[in-house]
């Protein structure tokens, strides 16, 4: 059991990462990663939805009629997404506004349905919940790395705090940091994601070669 849990953690965070290896959830990866804080909230929201949806689906997996299993999964996932949406509107209205429709679109994120079908519906609740959490973390950390660079280069800030502007001015650049508008737009997300996948796959391949040797 413990070994299975460790395998799940390793797989979801790195070896079988939902974004870089399975190439799932790309839409939100490109859409929300121009601001670090928004990405953090999005990641936490998706983790919550995936974990608790997996828990519920796993708990009722033996009584779900096979013909309606997808409908039940969508019902459960969308219920948790609505809870996240309402909670954000009530507690963090500014971030809810900034994220806009992307919170509701968590329902369409293929990562969640994929884990429900592939794991939660055929595993015990505890391990399904862990898988949900780690899938969410695996998705989140990739997005956060991308968001860090996109916000830094696109706005010159980290978590809204100006970083590059004062740095450039202290180095003598009178105009401060000239924002890379490209990084704020979707193509910036495409390129960052591609670079990330390239680096990740290169590291994994080198490790494989070393192991084989």
């Amino acid at each position: 059991m413990a070994q299975k849990a460790i395998d799940i953690i390793k797989d979801d965070l790195w070896k079988n990462n939902p974004v870089t290896i399975q190439i799932l959830g790309i839409c939100s990866t490109l859409a929300v990663t121009n601001i670090f804080l928004n990405t953090l909230i999005m990641g936490l929201g998706l983790t919550f939805v995936t974990a608790f949806s997996a828990l519920i689906i796993s708990l009722i997996r033996d009584i779900i009629p096979p013909r309606v299993r997808m409908m039940v999964q969508v019902l459960v996932i969308s219920s948790f997404v609505v809870i996240v949406d309402i909670s954000l509107k009530a507690t963090l209205p500014n971030i809810s506004k900034a994220l806009g429709p992307y919170v509701g679109l968590i329902i369409t994120n293929c990562i969640i349905m994929g884990r429900m079908e592939a794991f939660a519906s055929s595993n015990k609740p505890g391990i399904a919940f862990l898988d949900g959490v780690m899938t969410g973390f695996g998705y989140s950390w990739v997005l956060l790395v991308i968001a860090f660079f996109r916000e830094l280069l696109g706005f010159g800030t980290i978590l809204g705090i100006p970083v590059l502007d004062p740095l450039m001015m202290s180095l003598g650049a009178s105009e401060g940091w000239i924002q890379w508008a490209f990084m704020i737009m979707a193509p910036g997300g495409f390129f960052m994601l591609a670079i990330f996948i390239w680096i990740g796959n290169s590291v994994m391949m080198r490790r494989k070669i070393r192991v084989q040797k």
């Binding site: 013909r67 039940v72 019902l75 219920s79 100006p162």
Partner: protein, 255 residues
């Protein structure tokens, strides 16, 4: 037959359970969400009225900041709006409705006007809602014009679904600041659908330094900026005409 019945009963039961949970969550959050939306609306109004908390100046804010970045205390905000604002409704004369075909105002019989008073209890300006079409959807704004209708005091964009980083930048301080002091005298002598407010690629001076009828466009957001422009040229003309006709009544009805 039994399997089918079980499937139906199961689906109905699980749907009822989850809908009940959602209804409960919605119910306990409803008041708080409504309050957040109201506070957001009031923040926009205060920004458009060029009213800031304490000793905060707009020029202290970063160019990319939005209304939500202004550090208002909620109690202070509510006290301020109660002290300096009054809402009245003006009916839309039938004779003017024919000019409003392309505006959201054509669907209304009256409009909401916010009377903004200064610390000396005089009307400082008039605020009202604007609505137009952007690239991806509706753009809504709240604008305030001076009491003599010759210039704009401020504007805030309350709703938009434009491209983040491009059209969505209309909510940023850098773009909105250039509306302050915008010259509106052209609306007094407007002929037909003549464009009064125009957009340029680069403004050397702000409208507070030198009042003109131009605002600066956002690079890469042409469609959004055109939407803003059309919204201003259509709705501002109507509001200014209506307010000028009812100026005496408005002065009597305030406070």
């Amino acid at each position: 037959m039994r399997k089918g019945l079980f499937t139906v009963v199961f689906m109905v039961s699980i749907t009822v359970v989850f809908i009940s949970v959602l209804a409960f969550v919605n119910e306990i959050s409803r008041d708080r969400i409504a309050k957040n939306q109201e506070i957001r609306r009031i923040r926009s109004i205060m920004y458009a009225c060029n009213i800031f908390p304490g000793n905060i100046h707009e020029t202290d804010l970063s160019p990319g900041s939005t209304t939500t970045d202004i550090p208002w205390d909620v109690e202070q905000l509510l006290d301020m709006v109660n002290a300096r604002m009054k809402v009245v409704h003006l009916p839309i004369p039938p004779s003017q409705k024919r000019h409003l075909q392309n505006s959201f105002l054509s669907l209304q019989d009256s409009v909401q006007i916010f009377l903004i008073r200064n610390v000396n209890d005089e009307i400082d300006g008039y605020g009202f809602n604007l609505r137009g079409k952007g690239l991806w959807g509706t753009i809504a704004a709240f604008a305030v014009v001076s009491s003599d209708f010759t210039r704009m005091i401020g504007i805030d964009f309350t709703e938009q679904v434009e491209t983040p980083g491009l059209g969505a930048r209309i909510t940023e301080s850098e773009f909105k600041y250039l509306f302050r002091g915008l010259n509106l005298k052209g609306f007094f002598e407007r002929q037909g659908n003549q464009t009064v407010i125009d957009m340029v690629s680069k403004k050397e001076k702000t409208n507070l330094e030198e009042s003109t009828n131009t605002i600066q466009a956002i690079t890469g957001a042409t469609q959004t900026c055109n939407g803003v422009l059309n919204m201003l040229n259509t709705d501002l003309w109507f509001y200014i005409s209506l307010l000028r006709e009812n100026q005496e009544w408005l002065k009597k009805s305030h406070f």
